[in-house]
């Protein structure tokens, strides 16, 4: 997963183990793929009628879309120190969100498997 790595990189930046330019170059590679994967997953939920899962994902989807529309989804090396605490918070939040989602999907998968083979 990208997120634990991201958390580590932000704290690296704080303690000066990495410079902001490299950090932003590395992280920016993952921004759009991540948003894309998330949107794709949400689309699958929509097509398969997984309403609960879809509802759970819609807020984040909207948040990401808003960022892309406002064109501030990329990490900006010139502003990174000013916005670092915000980025860190966001990263922690997303990490928690994906972990919870993961367990929920796992649970639903097991439930579905059990239902198929009684």
């Amino acid at each position: 997963m990208v997120y634990p790595r991201k958390v580590i990189m932000f704290s690296d930046l704080e303690s000066d183990y990495i410079n902001p330019i490299d950090l932003c170059n590395k992280l920016n590679q993952f921004v759009l793929p991540e948003y894309g994967a998330h949107a794709f997953l949400a689309l699958l939920f929509l097509l398969w009628g997984q309403w609960t899962a879809l509802l759970w994902n819609v807020p984040l989807l909207a948040y990401n879309a808003n960022k892309v529309i406002k064109n501030n989804h990329m990490y900006d090396a010139t502003e990174i120190f000013r916005t670092l605490s915000g980025h860190q918070k966001e990263t922690y939040f997303k990490l928690a969100f994906y972990l919870l989602s993961f367990f929920y999907y796992l649970y639903r998968m097991i439930v579905a498997l059990v239902a198929e083979n009684p």
Partner: protein, 937 residues
């Protein structure tokens, strides 16, 4: 100290408080206590602002903080000479504008000042007026206890001299009754009162001069809660690379190979360290680490004999430069490299920009710093193609190489494009002569600025240096092309801040690349049409360059050409610092939390600056992370750089400030000029991340917070509503400076300001040093037709300026001649009833009707008045640091409205459109302060 009990009004008692080392005053009837000495009932203090210094002290323009006290105390007698006493007595009897704190609410004084231009203004016209600009020592003691009877003053000074660390005394001023006095801005910041023996050197230069580094608070609160209570921002405003004007002390250079630094925190040795173990070790003043004194520290290497440690420059001067040994280099010192990117598209040629620029470069080739003969220069022209010039060695012939493929920029030739200045001087001169005619009939419109920048970058990226861009049009081709996004409908709305942000990411990412390759970019922009200054200014902003903007430049007007040629020439001749990094260290418990200015923040506290121009100011916010338990703290700025003649050096600026746990000292030590400078930076940042409106609200709220904090904690009124608006004497000008900031072109609420002008003004707000910024916020206003006889003549300190007036149009008389200047522009205002003789004397025209408004050049005419006016204009242009050469506009009272309104907008104390006058602003503040504290209204 003479017991204050003797001077108390009846009903008061004084009690010595051992904890705070000062007297506590108790009103016996009510049991009310306060720190300030109560003034006798009905007794009115005389304010320093409203009274002309009656005695002429030896004029000292600026004294160093430590020296100032000595000078003042040493000259204790002189300040008590008969003239002074007489003056004081007279003032006490005469007009008073100032009510004493909040001790006695003196309605009489209130009425007097609100009655309009009261008698307090009379001194401006007094014929025997001493000169305020070079204000003598009298007014320079901003916290001096004026309220004390004069004979006690002497005792107190004597006692304080012995007692060592002095307490700041807090004097409360009521903003409602004391109008702003422009002369107060000339005062030095509150004195830095360090505990005795904190410095190993008695030298007055042991603490940094405010022009290098100043703090918003000259006494640092020991805890963050105390700082939060005071609401005054804590920040440093620094200009480490300040230019030296005539008479300034040069920075001592330490050529020894020994650089003594703390092993742990890497602090450079400075006057505030302690020597222990018989001088074999030193204790760091920031982290308390004990370090060995280097063996060669007591050895004079120049003369090869034992030297005197106490005479070493680094222990006696706060600003020093070390010659750095090889450990401080990642590569051998680079030569200075200049690449000129000249726009030769049709509008640029038509405006005469190309001709003026090439002529200026040619004339200034000699002044470009090149002491070691290594400086390299290249010239690249661009419209929608790039034109390189190859200058082969050994011949003065040059050939032009055209690259029209701008999508993938390449260099047409590996060498001879970037040439050594000294060797190719002749061919460069010939080439510069030719460029003007070469593109004379160029009809191509459009600009490939992005590709030109990339080409320049390719040329110099192995070395680094400075790219100087001269551009007259909106970039329209290749990478970094911009669209005209100027939208008159968006102005004045919340969408406006979008126009102040970068339109495309190219200029930011390119800036980062430049910063990495040690390339700095200076922008000279000339367009009359929209040019997207906001986006282009990103490049200088992150590469420590500077933006210069000449809207609608036309070399046909001599004034335009002179201004540009002068400023460009200064920039070219400027000895720049190359490959610089800056770091500010501070005592334990303090952390640099955010940075404002032109640089790239490379790590949490390291600022990368590829080429540092002179006189650029930076602001750094400071956080108090843990409680401070030392009597003083030290801030040290270190700039590691390569000089433009190939020497690696470290410039170190050290400043020590006392700490305090007393809220009143925090207020009494606040520096209004530094706070205003910091607010300007903060306002611009805020307008980019939020909205312009938010930024104005933020600044106003910050001011209200300070006033509120002062009211609740420092005045007897406490939290309730009060008829006064109190602030300490040393912050009296802060509201008017904030008002000036709110009315500045960069921040002002208006739907008429083109985004280019706004963006340029914002660039100025974040990079001007205080000396230039303060007039930019609060312009100077002089009356010329009735100036004192000595004004405009040469005095002890050069040309004497007339006394500045408060910025209100009430002062404009119909027959007058006035000068308004903000450091960037000057306005000569002529009243409609100006007598023909005056017009004749100054402008050589028969009468007022024949005058034409607009940019003018004053010619020296053979009469004394013309000589004096010209001398004043000249003095104003030269007196400040920085390359700026303000335009002089002639404004007729009934002339063209835009110009008239522009000039009038400089009078910030007036009401203009939706913007409040000073009186309105103050009463809004008062309402907010009273409203917020629950008093209601």
């Amino acid at each position: 100290m003479a017991s204050p009990a003797q001077q108390l009004p009846p009903g008061w008692a004084a009690e010595w408080d051992a904890n705070n080392q000062r007297y506590l005053f108790i009103e016996t009837a009510t049991g009310h206590t306060q720190w300030e000495a109560p003034a006798p009932q009905g007794y009115v203090e005389n304010a320093p602002s409203d009274t002309p210094p009656a005695a002429q002290h030896p004029a000292k323009r600026r004294q160093y903080a430590a020296g100032q006290t000595q000078a003042y105390y040493g000259g204790g007698e002189s300040s008590l000479d008969p003239g002074y006493l007489a003056g004081t007595a007279a003032q006490q009897g005469g007009a008073q504008l100032f009510t004493p704190g909040l001790v006695g609410e003196n309605q009489f004084a209130t009425q007097q000042t609100q009655a309009g231009p009261g008698p307090g203004q009379a001194p401006y016209y007094a014929p025997a007026e001493p000169e305020y600009i070079n204000a003598p020592a009298y007014g320079q003691q901003p916290v001096a206890p004026y309220g004390q009877p004069v004979d006690n003053l002497a005792n107190q000074f004597g006692a304080m001299g012995i007692a060592g660390q002095k307490q700041f005394q807090l004097y409360t001023a009521n903003l409602l009754t004391s109008p702003p006095d422009p002369r107060e801005l000339q005062h030095p910041p509150p004195e830095i009162r360090l505990p005795p023996n904190s410095s190993v050197s008695p030298s007055p230069t042991a603490n940094a001069d405010p022009s290098y580094q100043r703090s918003t608070l000259n006494a640092i609160p020991t805890t963050s809660s105390l700082l939060a209570k005071a609401k005054v921002p804590l920040a440093l405003v620094l200009t480490p690379y300040r230019s030296l004007k005539e008479g300034d002390e040069s920075v001592p250079v330490i050529t020894d190979t020994v650089i003594a630094r703390c092993r742990r925190c890497r602090t450079y040795i400075n006057p505030y360290v302690q020597f222990i173990d018989g001088g074999n070790r030193w204790r760091c003043c920031m982290c308390n680490m004990t370090n060995e004194v280097p063996q060669l520290f007591d050895w004079d290497q120049a003369r090869n004999q034992p030297g005197d440690r106490w005479a070493r420059d680094e222990l006696n001067h706060s600003v020093v430069e070390y010659v750095a040994p090889t450990e401080y280099m990642v590569r051998p010192p680079q030569p200075a490299v200049y690449i000129f990117l000249i726009d030769v598209s049709n509008p640029a040629v038509q405006s005469g920009m190309v001709a003026t620029a090439t002529r200026t470069i040619k004339e200034n080739l000699e002044r470009i710093p090149d002491e070691d003969g290594r400086t390299k220069v290249a010239i690249v022209c661009f419209d929608v193609s790039l034109y390189f010039f190859s200058l082969p060695q050994g011949t003065t012939e040059s050939s032009m190489l055209v690259v029209s493929d701008i999508d993938d920029v390449f260099l047409p030739k590996p060498n001879d494009l970037l040439v050594n200045l000294a060797e190719a001087r002749e061919s460069l001169e010939i080439l510069l002569d030719k460029i003007g005619t070469m593109f004379q009939d160029n009809s191509i419109i459009g600009s490939a600025l992005g590709p030109a920048l990339q080409a320049g970058f390719k040329l110099m990226s192995p070395i680094g240096g400075k790219i100087v861009v001269l551009s007259s049009s909106l970039p329209s081709a290749g990478a970094g092309a911009l669209k005209n996004r100027e939208d008159p409908k968006a102005l004045g709305t919340s969408k406006e801040s979008g126009l102040l942000q970068a339109a495309v990411p190219f200029y930011k990412t390119f800036a980062i690349e430049c910063s990495r390759a040690q390339v700095s970019v200076d922008m000279f922009l000339f367009s009359g049409a929209y040019q997207d200054v906001a986006t282009l200014a990103c490049l200088p902003h992150y590469t420590s360059g500077q933006t210069y903007y000449y809207p609608a430049f036309n070399a046909g007007r001599a004034e335009d050409a002179i201004k540009f040629a002068h400023e460009f020439g200064v920039v070219l001749a400027m000895p720049i610092m190359l490959e610089a990094v800056m770091r500010v260290r501070a005592s334990r418990g303090l952390r640099m939390s955010s940075f404002h200015g032109n640089f790239f923040v490379r790590s949490t506290d390291l600022l990368a600056m590829p080429a540092v121009p002179q006189d650029q100011s930076y602001a750094i916010e400071i956080q108090i992370e843990e409680n401070i338990n030392t009597p003083f703290v030290v801030f040290q700025t270190a700039v590691l750089h390569t000089t433009c003649y190939g020497e690696r050096r470290i410039r170190v600026v050290t400043q020590a400030l006392p700490t305090t746990s007393n809220l009143s000292e925090v207020f009494a030590s606040a520096d209004q000029v530094a706070i205003a400078t910091f607010f300007a930076n903060k306002a611009v940042e805020r307008s980019l991340t939020h909205k312009l409106e938010d930024s104005r609200d933020f600044i106003q709220k910050s001011l209200v917070d300070i006033l509120l904090a002062y009211k609740t904690s420092m005045t007897s009124g406490g939290a309730g509503a009060s008829a006064q608006l109190a602030i300490s004497e040393n912050l009296k000008m802060l509201p008017v400076l904030v008002l000036g900031l709110l009315k500045n072109v960069g921040i002002r609420q208006s739907a008429q300001i083109p985004p280019d002008i706004r963006a340029y003004s914002q660039a100025l707000l974040t990079s001007l040093p205080s000396q230039l910024l303060i007039p930019y916020l609060y312009p100077n206003f002089y009356s010329l037709h009735n100036m004192p006889a000595e004004a405009g003549t040469i005095g002890e300190k050069g040309v004497i300026l007339p006394p500045p007036l408060p910025l209100t149009s009430e002062r404009l008389e119909r027959h007058g001649l006035y000068l308004i200047e903000d450091g960037q522009t000057m306005f000569l205002w002529v009243g409609r009833d100006a007598v023909p003789q005056l017009v004749m004397d100054v402008f050589d025209l028969p009468n007022y009707e024949s005058l034409r408004g607009g940019k003018i050049t004053l010619r020296l005419l053979g009469n004394p008045f013309s000589e004096r006016v010209t001398a004043i204009v000249q003095k104003i242009r030269e007196s400040r640091r920085g390359p700026y050469y303000p335009h002089l506009y002639l404004v007729k009272e009934d002339g063209e409205p835009p110009l008239r309104l522009w000039a009038l907008s400089a009078l910030v104390q007036d009401r203009a459109d939706v913007l409040p006058s000073y009186q309105q602003f103050i009463s809004t503040l008062k309402e907010k302060v009273n409203g917020a504290s629950g008093g209601g209204y």
